[in-house]
Amino acid sequence: MNEEKLICRDIVKTYGKKDVLDHVNLELEKGKIYGLIGRNGAGKTTLLSILSAQNPATRGTVTYNGMPVWENREALDHICFSRELNPIGSQGQSNLKVKEYLQAASIVMPNWDNELAKHLVEKFELDEKKKIVKLSKGMMSMVTIICALASKADYTFLDEPVAGLDVVMREYFYRVLLDEFADSGRTFVISTHIIEEASDVFEEVIMLDKGKIILKENTQELLDRSRHISGKAEEVDAMTAGMKTFHVEKMGRSKGVTVLLEPGQELKQTADVSVQQMNLQQVFVALCGKEVE
């Protein structure tokens, strides 16, 4: 079963004249938790909706185990995209009660785990009789999390699952996710803007910037090779000569840059130049952020 993969080849998505996804190639392996991070409007939701055939690509193909996913029940039975809910939902789901919404999900998803869904409703202290439209942002997130986990789909996508959740519930969600992951070996793709607290959960991180995948790498390996170099500008320039630098910041004679080390490269801290390890949020800002002059 190791060859089981979800692959997208050369995906382009155009809305009007705007390229939302620009030749995206991606291979998702079975049994990994991927983090999908990108700024607002980078194309995260569009990518997830195309991977799950909820939205047609303008060009390119998505295949699961070699089968195209588009209008293919056999492939789609293995894929679940639990979309973010919103109170003015255009899909007409907002007038349903929580209970009815979960019932609808259980009909669509062939491997639905009703016991898990019930258990999570209880743990999240959700009122099943409440209408979706009446839920707070955090409670809506809980409903989408329950749908995703209880779907038991081999490939499960969660778009901003922790939006609106307080810090205790966010941590609870990641533990429940890891629990389900350890038991099932399913693949999860999770998009989030709260990068730092999720980074240790992601085995691999996928960075999307302006419709392009700029990086897909094992999270720990990426952090191991990311360095922030700062000190007197000339000394920093001397140390990083010949290297590609990101996110250059200057203040007076001082300068700070980010570099990604290649295998075998190492930079040693000196009395004049600081060499620091970075966290995922800092790497993300360095690669996708705005330059500060």
Partner: protein, 126 residues
């Protein structure tokens, strides 16, 4: 560990999470919280406890397997090797100069404390 922050430095010192896992287990062995020939927590237990990916927890465990601190009993789990505590102590002693003295010298140099002065300061404080 570090001296005063300087301009354009980033403000948090980060250490790889898998190194933190392996160091934590080593420290528990040094403090007799985990004894030799005892089982250490599984990667899934560590993953759930710290809310980290099991692959990352496994990376931390594997560092200790490679250095001989832990060994695998097939189908049962990871165990602390006999003599591991002494080995960890020896290695930490060997790393001491690199880890603490170099940082000390660097900070001393940047604020103009000479080596002689530094030695005098150390003698005074022990």
């Amino acid at each position: 560990m570090k001296g005063d922050e300087r301009m354009n430095e980033i403000l948090t010192q980060e250490k790889s999470i898998y190194l933190q896992i392996s160091e934590m287990i080593e420290n528990d062995i040094l403090r007799d919280i985990i004894l030799e020939e005892e089982k250490v927590p599984s990667t899934n237990e560590l993953a759930k406890l710290y809310a980290i990916n099991p692959a990352t927890a496994a990376k931390g465990i594997n560092i200790l397997v490679d250095s001989g601190v832990l060994y695998k009993k097939r189908g049962i789990g990871m165990f602390v090797a006999t003599g591991a505590k002494e080995e960890i102590k020896k290695r930490k002693q060997a790393e001491f100069a690199d880890k603490y003295i170099k940082t000390l010298l660097m900070e001393a140099e940047s604020i103009g404390i000479t080596k002689e002065e530094l030695i005098r300061m150390i003698k005074q404080s022990v």
